[in-house]
């Protein structure tokens, strides 16, 4: 009981910090809560530096690779059950067959999922969750959100996360002691697997918050489309763009070019090659209103 109250107060305190931070709202249309999010981000970053990273590093340095592999495979195997269900919900029954066959093989020949024998047999692992399923059904990301402890998310993915957590077989496991031990082990293992990635992030980013946010949004979009997002939505810089281009045409002049493609059911920015700035403008136009609408309801 007491711990519950402490956690609730901690959340309230964090929310207050976040609301106070909201005064410095950024200009990015995908991130209307930037003040709150940055506050959460630095809280998470501090927590990670103090506890997450040291524990994960100790875990990685203490346990030999094969054992860490068992931990990873064990939880990945449990996850395959729901991943298969998601592929069914997303209209990809062939992938469902793969996922559930993986579970069957890995649980038996792989000894309770400790070994990923299915991958060696050519049954490829997938990665699905409720956020992706909603995305597949046409729900837009909505605003970017950073949650304490849970990290990067979006309005859509947060709703997905409620289902993910609520239906997580590990979190529903009884007795509670075993459940807690498994949860800690799983989280530690996941963080340990990300140690290299987080080091690279530190190396690459000028502003870690912005870098991570953009990476998250790009990655989720890629996941929703299973690695094949509509290509035109990416800006395609060409060599010509680097050279002094002739006067760039205003976006309005592009309208006739854009028209036919926009009328097709999958309305995504079409591939036009005039110049990078015009394409970027078009992409922004198509991206922003949707995400703002989804987050604020109008």
């Amino acid at each position: 009981m007491k711990t519950k109250r402490i956690i609730r107060n901690l959340f309230l305190a964090l929310l207050l910090v976040g609301v106070a931070g909201c005064a410095t709202t950024g200009a990015d249309g995908r991130d209307p809560m930037e003040g709150f999010n940055r506050a959460m981000y630095s809280f998470n970053d501090g927590f990670d530096t103090a506890i997450g990273k040291p524990v994960a590093t100790a875990y990685r340095d203490t346990l030999p690779g094969p054992i860490r592999g068992w931990v990873r495979n064990f939880f990945a195997n449990i996850a395959d059950l729901w991943i298969g269900a998601h592929n069914l919900l997303q209209g990809k029954p062939a992938d469902t067959v793969t996922d559930w066959a993986r579970f069957a093989f890995n649980s038996t020949f792989g000894i309770f999922g400790l070994n990923d024998v299915a991958s060696d047999m050519g049954l490829e692992k997938h990665d699905e969750d409720f956020g992706q399923t909603f995305g597949r059904w046409g729900v837009d990301d909505g605003a970017y959100v950073v949650w304490p402890f849970l990290g990067s998310s979006s309005v859509r993915d947060s709703v997905g996360l409620v289902f993910d957590i609520g239906l997580d077989p590990v979190l529903r496991h009884k007795p509670v002691g075993v459940r807690n031990a498994m949860t800690i082990l799983r989280t530690t293992g996941k963080r340990a697997d990300l140690l290299d990635a987080s080091r690279i992030l530190e190396e690459a980013a000028l502003d870690k918050y912005v870098f991570q946010r953009d990476a998250y949004l790009q990655r989720r979009r890629n996941q929703v489309y299973d690695g094949n997002p509509p290509r035109a939505a990416r800006e395609r810089p060409l060599a010509e763009a680097a050279e002094p281009a002739p006067e760039s045409r205003p976006v309005s002049e592009l309208q006739p070019l854009l028209q036919p493609a926009v009328e097709t059911p999958v309305a995504r920015p079409p591939v036009v090659r005039p110049n990078a700035a015009a394409i970027e403008a078009a992409v922004r136009l198509l991206e922003q209103p949707a995400s703002v609408a989804a987050s604020t309801g109008g």
Binding site: R72, A76, V210, A215, A239
Partner: protein, 219 residues
């Protein structure tokens, strides 16, 4: 009579073959296909890394030298930088553009060096190229296989240039490197101008592999 004709025909055919192949080799200086290029460079670099004791021990300078020698020639940093800077590119002077390209190149090389340092003999899956022979703009897909997780995809966007195929964007797990820098660069230019962005890049590159400001204070 007949065998002699056969012999003559054979000699003629062989001669013709050599002449023809010689001529073709001359007319078309060999440009390596983009998927082969990616595969060869990747395997070569990985092979060197796995064999080199000093790199294994974490010799950063050596990794960077390796990248500069083997990988850099296949990247078009001008296009990468200009598209990362995006709409502000025209605001930069010619001299600023050169410095931007240089600093961005350094940053990417260092990041790439970190990524390579964490390589530990994972298996590659080089996907067959899906493009027409006449295409001049292709995406080469490579996947890194790892047990217990979904394969990690690395997509190289490449363009055919006179000197061979050049990479102008790398997408790791669907995250485009160029697109990911665009917002950061945009913010910095809006707040501090082109000169401010260059300064930020120089400061980042001079921080000797130390993390960003917040992390650096701790050390």
């Amino acid at each position: 009579m007949f065998p002699m004709f056969v012999r003559f025909a054979t000699v003629a055919a062989i001669t013709a073959f050599f002449v023809a192949s010689g001529a073709r080799a001359q007319a078309q200086p060999e440009i390596q296909a983009p998927d082969l290029l990616v595969k060869n460079v990747t395997l070569e670099v990985v092979d060197i890394i796995l064999k080199d004791k000093e790199i294994q021990k974490g010799d950063r300078k050596k990794v960077i030298a390796l990248i500069e020698a083997k990988v850099l020639p296949h990247f078009n940093f001008q296009v990468m930088t200009s598209s990362a800077v995006g709409r502000n590119w025209d605001k930069a002077s010619a001299e600023q553009k050169t410095r931007l390209i240089d600093e961005f190149k350094t940053l990417l090389v260092r990041t790439y060096a970190s990524a390579l340092a964490s390589y530990s003999s994972q298996k590659f899956d080089f996907r067959p190229l899906r493009a027409k022979p006449t295409d001049t703009d292709v995406t080469v897909n490579v996947r890194i296989l790892q047990s217990g997780s979904q394969p990690l995809t690395i997509d190289y966007d490449m363009e055919k240039r006179p000197g061979g195929w050049k990479v102008w964007d790398v997408r790791v797990g669907g995250i485009s490197l160029v697109a990911n820098y665009r917002t950061e660069f945009d913010n910095l230019i809006r707040e501090t101008g082109v000169e401010g962005l260059i300064k930020a890049l120089v400061a980042k590159n001079n921080s000797q592999g130390q993390p960003t400001v917040a992390g650096a204070q701790k050390k």
